[in-house]
Amino acid sequence: MNSGGNDISFLVTVSIAIMLLVVAGFLLAVMINQRKKWLLQKEMSGLKEHQQNQLIEAAVRSEEGERHRIAEMLHDEVGALLSSSRIFLVEMNTQNLTETDRQDHGKVKEMIDESIQKVRSISHNLHSTILKEFGLNEAIRHFMKKVAGGTAVNSTVELDEEYQLSNAETDLAVYRIIQELVNNLMKHAHSRLINIKSSLHENELKIQIHHNGDGLSQEQFEELRFKPAGLGLKNIQNRIILLKGNILFKKIDTENYTIQLSIPVLI
């Protein structure tokens, strides 16, 4: 081996080392740039999520405000008018009326009574005073009794009594979700058996709705909530996002479906 051979060996070794350093530096620069991009995107998606949540919150608040306003108007104005009408009707002298007129008078009184009941029912549906005064569990029980009563639907409610009010807004959102889900089950899924169960695990409220109707799978829910017809499902999803919770639709078999809600709560 000559000195020229040694020199070239040294040159090759040094060149390999330099090339490795250059490549390592280049890859490092690419990785640093990717990390910067990642941090920026994370920040952007955080901001986007925050903005989206604010929009959802505003929409939900405005919807609740409107419900409250309509409920108050129905209760205080239409309800009051109907009650006054009933008083006048009751105080009417029916002695001089013919039998047919007396029967009509009775019918009108019955209809006014029914209207008062309906107005009260709609008003309570729009703005649940039970939820406000007695909490979520009682509101759900009352709601289920009301919607299933007098129908072919058999409903059972087993709620965890350990759960008390965590936050009025959370309770209202959960109540609205259950209202929407149960209405959907009766209207679209034609369920004849609805069972609602709740359990509290640490800081998470789990609610399971089991039914025997023609329910939804998770894929169907994801698909429907983006369609104009799925406005109710979109509202459910919005409230779930707002609560930072989770909703899962499961099909057990053709006649057994469950809907699981997981809601973080502050006790």
């Binding site: 051979g5 070239i8 060996s9 090759v12 490795l20 250059v22 690419v30 990717q34």
Partner: protein, 231 residues
């Protein structure tokens, strides 16, 4: 007895079985897989042939090899040369990886291919017409130019990633694994290829050792290609 050196010497052929095996296990479907798998198959056939010719004496098949590859006989060295296969491998590697980069981003690499491929073809024409014969020696200028051009592709790929708004996870982006392996292979081997002809004549021991480095980086490249087949 098989020594570590034997295993490394044959690595040019068996290393290619790693991506080939994982290709059949994972059956990837991406568009950029096609040029890569064609490269792996062609490289395997060329390298296996080159290694069989090289080791024909140890395999006791020199007579058969002399008969089959009589057209590769070099009177000056009184032996059959396997360098044609290395040279063809080098040409195929550049062309197929140029296709691979084009498949990754047709818009970005179309312009680069329009420059690099004609340059490479003209270089080969001049090199093999006026300076060397394709069957005689492992061609240092060919390997070095091919390596430099592939490095250029890799650098442009990384520049493209940096320009792209889309975020890429280096560990989950499959083509990035191939490009990473290719960058490492070419960066280390570029100096080896430049001086290989000279090293063989001036420092044979060192040239043998440095070729082991080449073979190890080639194994790494094949492992990276194999991992890129996994989603």
């Amino acid at each position: 007895m098989i020594t570590f050196k034997d295993i490394i010497d044959w690595s040019e052929a068996w290393a290619l079985l790693i991506p080939l095996t994982f290709y059949f296990i994972w059956k990837p479907k991406d568009a950029w897989i096609k040029p890569v798998i064609i490269y792996v198959i062609i490289a395997f056939l060329l390298n296996l042939t080159a290694d069989i010719i090289w080791k024909s004496h140890f395999l006791s098949i020199d007579k058969q090899i002399s008969k089959i590859f009589s057209f590769l006989y070099i009177p000056k060295y009184k032996q059959i040369s396997n360098n044609l296969f290395y040279n063809l491998h080098s040409i195929f590697r550049l062309l197929l990886f140029a296709w691979f980069f084009y498949k990754l981003d047709p818009v970005f690499f179309k312009k680069l291919n329009r420059v690099i491929i004609p340059v490479f073809i003209v270089f080969n024409f001049i090199n093999f017409t006026f300076y060397s014969k394709i069957i005689v020696l492992p061609n240092s200028p060919l390997f070095a130019v091919e390596s430099a051009l592939l490095l250029l592709y890799c650098i442009f790929y990384f520049i493209r990633i940096n320009k792209d708004d889309r975020l890429m996870n280096p560990f989950s982006e499959a083509p990035l694994r191939i490009v990473g392996g290719l960058t490492l292979y070419n960066a280390i081997n570029f100096p080896i290829f430049i001086f290989y002809d000279y090293l063989m004549s001036s420092n044979e021991k060192y040239s043998e050792n440095i070729w082991t480095v080449h073979n190890i980086t080639y194994i790494v490249l094949n492992i990276m290609i194999a991992f890129s087949f996994k989603k």
